[in-house]
Assembly symmetry: C2
Homo-oligomer: 322 residues x 2
């Protein structure tokens, strides 16, 4: 048996019975049987060592995160996971890396009934590329272009902790607190799948996306796609205890432009307020109304007195800087 087959063995598992998978890993293609009439939701991400994760990152957490960030895209669409593929370039076949990586990957896959249905493994600089598939009822997907002026702007969970974890790891001088309190928010994000599906089934919920590059930057995608603006109530933003020790400016930076949050940012008609809270409760995730959509383009961040705050935050561009 070659090294190549040895690696493949870590990822070859029988497809679970009763799911959508007709034929799993091992043929030219996997075969899936989606629910009749449903639409297929597809998303892909690539993670490169040294760019999306530190060289030497703990492989079990990496296995979790690689899938989590993709599942988060399904969540943001309101889709139910069907399965995923994994393409993996590795510098060498290292059992001590592969075993925990597969463990982290499959623990999350199993928790969300999202089996691995196909893959490719090759030698190369450590790079992971996942593609996830889900299904959603026609017309129920939470698209970015579906927001309307007057919609409430909602956020699941809390933003900023992953950014603080990054700062603590890097030793950025403004960072305060214990890495242990926030590192899982960076290393093991929780895809909000149950919430996304509950929201897709809730009348009056309109646009959604997952916050991966910072709240304001990602809000901009909804605003651009929907041709709208927004006003955010800074005081309404939920603040994690770990962020309380930061100075106000860096705290706001973390909240509004942190990145790596994988929370859902979504809009809903004000009449859906109680239903949105109920969707959050059913999914076990806090949801907070943080602002409102407006006809006037651009975003504003307002303090408790309704005055504009100056925001220096900006989005994250994978090709910006070195």
């Amino acid at each position: 048996m070659g090294e190549f087959e040895l690696i493949a063995r870590h990822f070859a598992r029988a497809a679970p019975a009763g799911g959508a998978v007709v034929l799993g890993v091992g043929d030219d293609c996997a075969l899936l049987q989606p629910t009749p009439g449903h639409q297929l939701a597809v998303s892909t991400d690539m993670l490169v060592e040294g760019r999306h994760f530190f060289a030497g990152a703990e492989p079990e957490a990496l296995g979790h995160k690689a899938l989590a960030v993709n599942l988060s895209d399904l969540a943001a669409m309101g889709a139910r996971p069907l399965g995923f593929t994994l393409a993996l370039a590795l510098p060498a076949a290292d059992e001590a890396w592969l075993a925990p990586f597969a463990r982290g990957l499959f623990a999350l896959a199993d928790a969300h009934h999202c089996p691995l249905v196909g893959g490719d493994t090759t030698r190369g600089p450590l790079t992971l590329s996942l593609t996830v598939f889900g299904e959603v009822r026609p017309g129920r997907a939470l698209r970015r272009d579906a927001a309307r002026a007057g919609d409430d702007l909602w956020l699941s969970g809390r933003t900023g902790e992953a950014r603080l974890a990054l700062a603590l790891r890097r030793g950025e001088p403004w960072a305060r607190g214990e890495l242990a309190a926030v590192q899982d928010r960076m290393d093991r994000p929780t895809p909000r799948l149950a919430l996304g599906q509950a929201l897709a089934a809730t009348e009056g919920v309109r646009a959604a996306l997952d916050v991966s590059d910072g709240l304001l930057g990602d809000l901009g995608h909804i605003l651009q796609a929907s041709g709208l603006g927004a006003a955010i109530d800074a005081e309404a933003l939920p603040v994690a205890p770990a962020l309380a020790a930061l100075d106000a400016e860096h705290r706001l930076d973390c909240l509004l432009a942190g990145g790596d949050d994988y929370e859902l940012l979504f809009t809903a008609d004000p009449s859906a307020h109680a239903a949105v809270l109920a969707a959050g409760a059913s999914a076990g995730v806090a949801v907070t109304r943080i602002g409102r959509l407006r006809s006037a383009p651009g975003w504003r961040v307002l303090d408790a007195q309704g005055h504009d705050l100056t925001i220096r935050a900006r989005g994250f561009d994978h090709f910006a800087g070195a």
Copy 2:
């Protein structure tokens, strides 16, 4: 506009009207509407510079090949393409590379009505990861485990030219001939999509795969999955004119273990002989009966007198050697 957005622009095109794409590039997920009742076929591949293609490879041909090898997996399943995703790591945003790469990629995508529906672009060592989706009628997919003893073994087109092109590029001493006569067989393989769909619709056609790692090595996958053996008639193997000048041993190596052929290898009940020829004719691809499946495990290669030939060829393992 960031470098990142500049790159994304090369790949952002409106989804074609009338196809399966409900929502294309630009949201958290793409949305597709497969034909009701059909199964979804999915395959993924990763191509790494220096491993799957030469550093400095011509980008237009690379764009073609990256999609072609994935479409070939759909062809081998008998599936009709619905769309694909592309994850791309690039050392830098280089217009002179991106433009021809996108041209080669989209020319093939358009020819097969297989739109790009999602993607991810990041900085990193040049790596391409594609995932293709297709659809096939339930029960009609050409699976590797479907062969039966007594089936004819068929091959589309001809094998070996891509291997000769590699040898000429590398200057391997046994190689003879003009690179120009064979290089497109290595750089611009033709996915046999029309043939695969015609075969999936042909009664009596059973197992299939695409030959990417050499005929014998890939035949082994059908034999293993189906629990069978096979006898190949060496004299029946179609030989490209470019291989005629080689010594007999290297010619047979190219035919049986060349790699990068992307032809279909498939089995069919002998009663389907005429129907298989008709499927080939309808798809415009030559199909040749090259052997037969047997109950006894393993493969044999027989000369014109029915004697076993000694074959030194072996499969290609991406982790074998340096």
